[in-house]
Symmetry: C2
């Protein structure tokens, strides 16, 4: 087991990572303040791993809530249903919520914890690779609105995160690859050594070698914690974590949410960002190639689906919430391990990155 302490002053918390941690009540016990617990999970995770969590919580007063699976249920209505169940169970401010599932469960459940009686403790037990390396750090919680993803939410830090890598054994390959995309992202934006380590271990990671998996999750969380500690309330540096996300969100939205997994879209978005960075003369061709190569070895697509035209991309990127005051900002690469946010790029460089060339030929943009 490895433990990373996320340093946030009075809201600091540990992330425990290892194989078999769901059999370790000692990791959970220090963080249970009150007598009552609520577990929020979903209909996919509960049958696969619910028994292990139930065994861990034996003897406690537990309210067990199973959500339907899928991003479509990441809505305010679902949060309201959770809050109603919690009130019916008379959970008070001293109660603790355990979010047990992937990123969608964590976002919904964390937000319910954030706004239940103005905030109660919560513990994350993420079960997908993506949520383990992404949602474990940063305190972001929230739901979607018909007019945009993650438009409703709050910052709410967990008391602890417990990552049992055994839960990855049941993860579909596509979801595993989507998680690896985010892991590659940390190497690209700020840790060239980690990127090089991933070039050595990517196949072992995809095969879920326990030590490699634990190490990859630990280093990913450490990278994210470093960024977030410097900028807890997302203004400057934290935006670097959005490498590949503006392109990626456009792919997700353009294909209809759920068609592409978030991580799959981010993987392709990172490849696009690498090519655009090369276009601008920032990223050396050899480094762009290393980036693309690793993304490809992870089983991710280097290009967006052909049905998404450049025009559609532009439309979709303009409503992305990273657009402030009307100016499109992108995260680009100066080198492997070094990203910057910029709103100052030649339109040509963006044109050359978007699918097809008809837009450039017509001189639009």
């Amino acid at each position: 087991m490895r433990t990373l302490e996320v340093e946030l002053g009075p809201r600091s918390y540990p992330i425990h990572i290892g194989s078999g941690l769901l059999a370790r009540p000692d990791l959970l016990a220090p963080h249970l303040r009150g007598q009552r617990l609520v577990v929020v999970t979903n209909e996919t995770v509960a049958p696969l791993h619910g028994d292990r969590l139930r065994a861990l919580l034996e003897g406690q007063d537990v309210t067990w809530i199973e959500l339907p699976d899928g991003e479509a249920h990441k809505t305010l209505a679902t949060v309201e249903a959770i809050l109603t169940r919690m009130l019916e169970a008379r959970l008070d401010r001293g109660s603790t919520l355990i979010a047990f599932g992937g990123g969608v469960v964590g976002d919904i459940a964390g937000f319910a914890a954030a706004i239940y009686q103005r905030g109660i403790d919560f513990i994350q037990v993420p079960t997908t690779l993506l949520s383990q390396v992404d949602s474990s750090v940063g305190g972001k919680t929230g739901v979607n609105h018909p007019l945009g993803k993650n438009m409703i939410g709050a910052f709410h830090q967990p008391r602890a995160v417990i990552i049992d890598t055994e839960s990855l054994a049941t993860l579909p390959l596509r979801e595993l690859r989507a998680g690896v995309a985010e892991i590659i992202k940390y190497g690209l934006i700020q840790d060239a050594d980690f990127f090089a380590w991933l070039e050595q271990h990517i196949e072992a990671l995809l095969a879920l070698d326990p030590q490699v998996t634990t190490e990859a999750i630990y280093r990913s969380c450490a990278c994210k914690a470093e960024v977030v500690a410097a900028d807890e309330r997302e203004s400057g540096r934290r935006a670097l974590l959005n490498l590949g996300h503006t392109f990626g969100h456009a792919i997700e939205a353009g294909m209809g949410y759920g068609e592409w997994l978030h991580g799959e879209a981010v993987g392709t978005g990172m490849a696009m960002a690498a090519r655009m960075s090369e276009q601008m003369g920032w990223l050396q061709p050899a480094e762009r190639e290393r980036a693309e190569k690793l993304i490809e070895r992870a089983g991710l697509a280097l290009s967006p689906p052909p049905e998404l035209t450049a025009e559609r991309f532009r439309e979709l990127m303009a409503i992305d919430k990273k657009v402030m005051d009307g100016q499109l900002r992108l995260v680009l690469l100066r080198a492997i391990g070094s990203a910057v946010v910029t709103g100052d790029f030649p339109p040509d460089a963006l044109d050359a990155t978007l699918p097809g060339s008809e837009v450039r030929d017509r001189g639009v943009g």
Copy 2:
């Protein structure tokens, strides 16, 4: 004008109090970060005072949202409607929300600001006496759930609070008295000098003498800020602010929300707390009498309505959210200017405070 600086580290903010402040753009300007504004107000306040705020914001890009009036609309559905309007107006994270109205508007709008894109800036312009002395400090925002008041919410500090005492001129007398109840509360829980000052100035306050009103609001906010600064996340000392609230919530709920104003119920609840404190031998009879006398001079009832029986009171108090782990805690007085929270009181003292004597006679409780 008087200005109170609420000290909360990076989230410190000023409260400006005085007559005619809605004509002072210089007070607002330093707190407007982005280019877009949203004003949330209601159908009662807008016709009375909306023109002054519109004049103050002239030349800005303003989205104006008018809610129906009343606690019945303090729901998650209303918040969702606000968020939808904000998304339709393409407000981004740099936008600022202005809450313009009484406590209900402030609670709803503040919560919308707290969860819109995980939190945007907001400025409070409270227009009722209660909201000026209560909601200006503490950062509490939220809405009701069918199963309980204020069960959904967040802590979200405003960037500034602007209190124009002129807005009180249109306030119904009952609401004025309800606000004075909370002002008396600050004297009772922690400021004997302020209580004595109120004994001198209560009639001038009810007549809205500008200097007395500004002073009373300033000292009330200062009292609350002192308590909150010591305990921002409501654990220990902040609970003292609930003097009269457990009894008061029972009255509000028992009579049907909206029948008694919150402040009216708190006024009566404080008189009950004073009598219970005397029963326990904590408060001297002469001090209990001073407390009751001032509450009475403010035009507030000393006793709950006769239709609320002792049994009903008990029932209602048990679902109050100040009950932790099943034990009822009450705020009681050791002296004027000195309150304590206790879960340790003889059942007889509570019995003697609740209406009628049939419960005591039957030996129940």
